[in-house]
Amino acid sequence: MWVYEKKLQYPVKVSSCNPQLAKFLVEQYGGADGELAAALRYLNQRYTIPDKVVGLLNDIGTEEFAHLEMIAAMIYKLTKDATPDQLKQAGLADHYVNHGEALFYSNAAEVPFTATYIQAKGDPIADLYEDIAAEEKARATYQWIIDMSDDVDLNDSLRFLREREIVHSQRFREAVEILKEERDRKKVF
Protein backbone atom coordinates (compact mmCIF):
# COMPACT_ATOMS: atom_id res chain seq x y z
CA MET A 1 0.00 0.00 0.00
CA TRP A 2 0.98 3.62 -0.17
CA VAL A 3 0.50 6.60 2.11
CA TYR A 4 0.22 10.07 0.63
CA GLU A 5 2.10 13.03 2.04
CA LYS A 6 0.65 16.41 1.19
CA LYS A 7 3.85 17.98 -0.08
CA LEU A 8 6.10 17.82 -3.12
CA GLN A 9 9.44 16.05 -2.88
CA TYR A 10 11.17 19.30 -3.85
CA PRO A 11 9.65 22.79 -4.27
CA VAL A 12 8.28 23.69 -7.70
CA LYS A 13 8.24 27.37 -8.61
CA VAL A 14 7.66 28.87 -12.02
CA SER A 15 8.63 32.41 -13.05
CA SER A 16 5.74 33.04 -15.45
CA CYS A 17 2.87 31.50 -17.38
CA ASN A 18 4.59 29.56 -20.18
CA PRO A 19 2.46 26.96 -22.00
CA GLN A 20 5.24 26.31 -24.51
CA LEU A 21 7.47 25.02 -21.73
CA ALA A 22 4.56 22.99 -20.35
CA LYS A 23 4.26 21.29 -23.73
CA PHE A 24 7.92 20.21 -23.55
CA LEU A 25 7.51 18.97 -19.97
CA VAL A 26 4.69 16.63 -20.96
CA GLU A 27 7.45 14.42 -22.41
CA GLN A 28 8.42 13.58 -18.81
CA TYR A 29 4.77 13.10 -17.82
CA GLY A 30 3.51 10.49 -20.28
CA GLY A 31 6.46 9.99 -22.63
CA ALA A 32 8.53 6.83 -23.23
CA ASP A 33 11.25 7.81 -20.74
CA GLY A 34 8.99 9.83 -18.46
CA GLU A 35 8.15 9.47 -14.80
CA LEU A 36 4.91 7.48 -15.29
CA ALA A 37 6.78 4.90 -17.37
CA ALA A 38 9.53 4.74 -14.75
CA ALA A 39 7.17 4.23 -11.80
CA LEU A 40 5.11 1.56 -13.58
CA ARG A 41 8.19 -0.23 -14.90
CA TYR A 42 9.94 -0.68 -11.55
CA LEU A 43 6.86 -1.43 -9.47
CA ASN A 44 5.83 -4.12 -11.94
CA GLN A 45 9.28 -5.70 -12.21
CA ARG A 46 9.64 -6.02 -8.43
CA TYR A 47 7.39 -9.12 -8.20
CA THR A 48 9.83 -11.34 -10.08
CA ILE A 49 13.22 -9.80 -9.25
CA PRO A 50 15.39 -11.59 -6.63
CA ASP A 51 14.65 -10.63 -3.01
CA LYS A 52 17.94 -8.80 -2.59
CA VAL A 53 16.88 -6.00 -4.95
CA VAL A 54 13.09 -5.92 -4.45
CA GLY A 55 13.43 -3.10 -1.92
CA LEU A 56 15.36 -0.96 -4.36
CA LEU A 57 12.81 -1.37 -7.17
CA ASN A 58 10.00 -0.74 -4.70
CA ASP A 59 11.54 2.43 -3.32
CA ILE A 60 12.75 3.94 -6.59
CA GLY A 61 9.35 3.13 -8.15
CA THR A 62 7.70 4.96 -5.29
CA GLU A 63 10.00 7.98 -5.66
CA GLU A 64 9.11 8.16 -9.37
CA PHE A 65 5.51 8.89 -8.39
CA ALA A 66 6.79 11.85 -6.39
CA HIS A 67 8.60 13.00 -9.53
CA LEU A 68 5.45 12.52 -11.61
CA GLU A 69 3.66 14.79 -9.17
CA MET A 70 6.37 17.43 -9.49
CA ILE A 71 6.10 17.37 -13.30
CA ALA A 72 2.31 17.66 -13.03
CA ALA A 73 2.70 20.63 -10.67
CA MET A 74 5.02 22.29 -13.20
CA ILE A 75 2.63 21.75 -16.12
CA TYR A 76 -0.31 22.93 -14.05
CA LYS A 77 1.45 26.09 -12.88
CA LEU A 78 2.79 26.94 -16.33
CA THR A 79 -0.66 26.69 -17.96
CA LYS A 80 -3.26 27.61 -15.34
CA ASP A 81 -3.40 31.30 -16.29
CA ALA A 82 -3.06 30.82 -20.04
CA THR A 83 -5.85 31.95 -22.37
CA PRO A 84 -7.01 29.61 -25.14
CA ASP A 85 -5.18 31.91 -27.54
CA GLN A 86 -1.90 31.55 -25.65
CA LEU A 87 -2.37 27.77 -25.64
CA LYS A 88 -2.90 27.90 -29.39
CA GLN A 89 0.29 29.94 -29.82
CA ALA A 90 2.18 27.30 -27.84
CA GLY A 91 0.96 24.49 -30.09
CA LEU A 92 -1.54 23.20 -27.55
CA ALA A 93 -4.72 23.78 -29.56
CA ASP A 94 -5.19 20.06 -30.27
CA HIS A 95 -4.69 19.30 -26.61
CA TYR A 96 -7.16 22.00 -25.60
CA VAL A 97 -10.01 20.82 -27.84
CA ASN A 98 -9.74 17.32 -26.42
CA HIS A 99 -8.79 17.93 -22.79
CA GLY A 100 -9.52 21.56 -21.96
CA GLU A 101 -7.21 22.61 -19.17
CA ALA A 102 -6.76 19.07 -17.89
CA LEU A 103 -3.47 17.21 -17.95
CA PHE A 104 -3.19 14.09 -20.07
CA TYR A 105 -0.69 11.23 -20.14
CA SER A 106 0.99 11.72 -23.49
CA ASN A 107 4.40 12.70 -24.76
CA ALA A 108 5.33 16.19 -25.99
CA ALA A 109 4.04 15.32 -29.47
CA GLU A 110 0.70 14.28 -27.91
CA VAL A 111 1.08 10.54 -28.51
CA PRO A 112 -0.88 8.90 -25.65
CA PHE A 113 1.02 6.88 -23.06
CA THR A 114 1.33 3.19 -23.86
CA ALA A 115 2.52 0.16 -21.85
CA THR A 116 4.74 -0.73 -24.82
CA TYR A 117 7.18 1.89 -23.50
CA ILE A 118 8.10 -0.45 -20.68
CA GLN A 119 9.33 -4.01 -20.50
CA ALA A 120 9.27 -6.79 -17.94
CA LYS A 121 11.50 -9.61 -19.15
CA GLY A 122 11.45 -11.79 -16.05
CA ASP A 123 15.23 -11.91 -16.30
CA PRO A 124 16.85 -9.88 -13.51
CA ILE A 125 19.88 -8.69 -15.45
CA ALA A 126 17.83 -7.81 -18.55
CA ASP A 127 15.34 -5.90 -16.39
CA LEU A 128 18.01 -4.00 -14.46
CA TYR A 129 19.88 -3.03 -17.61
CA GLU A 130 16.62 -1.67 -19.00
CA ASP A 131 16.20 0.30 -15.78
CA ILE A 132 19.70 1.77 -15.99
CA ALA A 133 19.05 2.77 -19.61
CA ALA A 134 15.70 4.30 -18.61
CA GLU A 135 17.37 6.46 -15.96
CA GLU A 136 20.03 7.64 -18.40
CA LYS A 137 17.41 8.48 -21.03
CA ALA A 138 15.36 10.39 -18.47
CA ARG A 139 18.49 12.27 -17.37
CA ALA A 140 19.21 13.23 -20.99
CA THR A 141 15.61 14.37 -21.53
CA TYR A 142 15.81 16.62 -18.47
CA GLN A 143 18.98 18.15 -19.88
CA TRP A 144 17.31 18.84 -23.24
CA ILE A 145 14.34 20.45 -21.51
CA ILE A 146 16.64 22.61 -19.36
CA ASP A 147 18.41 23.66 -22.58
CA MET A 148 15.06 24.80 -24.02
CA SER A 149 13.99 26.68 -20.86
CA ASP A 150 14.91 30.14 -19.64
CA ASP A 151 12.77 29.90 -16.52
CA VAL A 152 15.36 30.03 -13.71
CA ASP A 153 12.94 28.91 -10.99
CA LEU A 154 11.73 25.96 -13.00
CA ASN A 155 15.26 24.99 -14.00
CA ASP A 156 16.20 24.65 -10.36
CA SER A 157 13.52 21.96 -9.89
CA LEU A 158 14.46 20.32 -13.21
CA ARG A 159 18.08 20.08 -12.11
CA PHE A 160 16.94 18.37 -8.93
CA LEU A 161 15.07 15.79 -11.02
CA ARG A 162 18.03 15.35 -13.37
CA GLU A 163 20.27 14.59 -10.37
CA ARG A 164 17.80 12.01 -9.08
CA GLU A 165 18.11 10.08 -12.35
CA ILE A 166 21.88 9.94 -11.81
CA VAL A 167 21.44 8.54 -8.29
CA HIS A 168 18.86 5.99 -9.45
CA SER A 169 21.15 4.85 -12.25
CA GLN A 170 23.98 4.41 -9.73
CA ARG A 171 21.80 2.35 -7.38
CA PHE A 172 20.60 0.12 -10.24
CA ARG A 173 24.23 -0.47 -11.26
CA GLU A 174 24.94 -1.57 -7.70
CA ALA A 175 21.95 -3.89 -7.86
CA VAL A 176 23.45 -5.55 -10.95
CA GLU A 177 26.70 -6.14 -9.04
CA ILE A 178 24.78 -7.59 -6.09
CA LEU A 179 23.05 -10.09 -8.36
CA LYS A 180 26.24 -11.00 -10.21
CA GLU A 181 28.00 -11.64 -6.91
CA GLU A 182 25.15 -13.84 -5.77
CA ARG A 183 25.22 -15.77 -9.05
CA ASP A 184 28.97 -16.31 -8.81
CA ARG A 185 28.69 -17.47 -5.20
CA LYS A 186 26.12 -20.05 -6.21
CA LYS A 187 28.46 -21.37 -8.90
CA VAL A 188 31.29 -21.92 -6.39
CA PHE A 189 29.26 -24.13 -4.08
Binding site: K6, L8, L56, R171, E174
Partner: protein
Protein backbone atom coordinates in the same frame (compact mmCIF):
# COMPACT_ATOMS: atom_id res chain seq x y z
CA UNK B 1 -7.37 28.22 -4.37
CA UNK B 2 -6.18 29.46 -0.97
CA UNK B 3 -5.33 33.02 -0.11
CA UNK B 4 -1.63 33.77 -0.03
CA UNK B 5 0.30 31.75 2.50
CA UNK B 6 2.78 33.26 4.96
CA UNK B 7 6.51 32.97 4.22
CA UNK B 8 6.73 30.64 7.19
CA UNK B 9 4.68 28.04 5.34
CA UNK B 10 7.37 27.76 2.69
CA UNK B 11 10.37 27.89 5.02
CA UNK B 12 8.97 25.31 7.44
CA UNK B 13 7.89 23.06 4.59
CA UNK B 14 11.32 23.33 2.97
CA UNK B 15 12.94 22.12 6.18
CA UNK B 16 10.70 19.06 6.12
CA UNK B 17 11.43 18.51 2.43
CA UNK B 18 15.16 18.74 3.09
CA UNK B 19 15.09 16.19 5.88
CA UNK B 20 12.86 13.89 3.86
CA UNK B 21 15.30 14.13 1.00
CA UNK B 22 18.16 13.01 3.24
CA UNK B 23 15.97 10.14 4.46
CA UNK B 24 15.17 9.07 0.87
CA UNK B 25 18.86 9.17 -0.06
CA UNK B 26 19.78 6.99 2.93
CA UNK B 27 16.87 4.67 2.20
CA UNK B 28 18.03 4.00 -1.38
CA UNK B 29 21.65 3.72 -0.27
CA UNK B 30 20.72 1.16 2.39
CA UNK B 31 18.74 -0.84 -0.18
CA UNK B 32 22.07 -1.68 -1.83
CA UNK B 33 24.29 -1.38 1.29
CA UNK B 34 22.14 -3.08 3.95
CA UNK B 35 25.11 -3.80 6.26
CA UNK B 36 26.11 -0.15 6.68
CA UNK B 37 25.28 0.40 10.34
CA UNK B 38 26.39 4.07 10.32
CA UNK B 39 24.00 4.91 7.50
CA UNK B 40 21.22 3.14 9.32
CA UNK B 41 21.93 5.11 12.48
CA UNK B 42 21.78 8.35 10.50
CA UNK B 43 18.45 7.29 9.04
CA UNK B 44 16.89 6.65 12.44
CA UNK B 45 18.22 9.96 13.79
CA UNK B 46 16.76 11.86 10.86
CA UNK B 47 13.40 10.11 11.27
CA UNK B 48 13.28 11.34 14.87
CA UNK B 49 14.26 14.80 13.72
CA UNK B 50 11.49 14.78 11.12
CA UNK B 51 8.82 14.14 13.75
CA UNK B 52 9.97 17.27 15.59
CA UNK B 53 9.67 19.37 12.44
CA UNK B 54 6.28 17.95 11.46
CA UNK B 55 4.48 18.83 14.68
CA UNK B 56 4.70 22.65 14.57
CA UNK B 57 4.07 22.70 10.81
CA UNK B 58 0.95 20.55 11.04
CA UNK B 59 -0.40 22.59 13.95
CA UNK B 60 -0.08 25.76 11.92
CA UNK B 61 -0.95 24.61 8.43
CA UNK B 62 -2.81 21.33 8.73
CA UNK B 63 -1.92 17.66 8.45
CA UNK B 64 0.56 16.39 5.89
CA UNK B 65 -0.85 12.88 6.25
CA UNK B 66 -4.49 11.87 6.63
CA UNK B 67 -3.62 10.19 9.95
CA UNK B 68 -1.85 13.31 11.23
CA UNK B 69 -2.81 14.41 14.71
CA UNK B 70 -4.56 17.75 14.94
CA UNK B 71 -7.45 19.18 16.94
CA UNK B 72 -9.78 19.07 13.94
CA UNK B 73 -9.93 17.67 10.41
CA UNK B 74 -7.56 19.62 8.16
CA UNK B 75 -6.37 16.96 5.78
CA UNK B 76 -8.74 17.38 2.86
CA UNK B 77 -8.71 21.15 2.93
CA UNK B 78 -6.66 23.14 0.43
CA UNK B 79 -3.96 24.00 -0.29
CA UNK B 80 -2.73 20.98 -2.20
CA UNK B 81 0.95 20.76 -3.13
CA UNK B 82 0.53 22.01 -6.71
CA UNK B 83 -1.46 25.03 -5.55
CA UNK B 84 1.24 26.65 -3.42
Amino acid sequence: MPKTLPKEYYSMLEEIQAIDFAITELNLYLDTHPEDQDAYKQLTELSEEKKKLLKPFEQKFGSIRADGIDDHWTWSKAPWPWQV
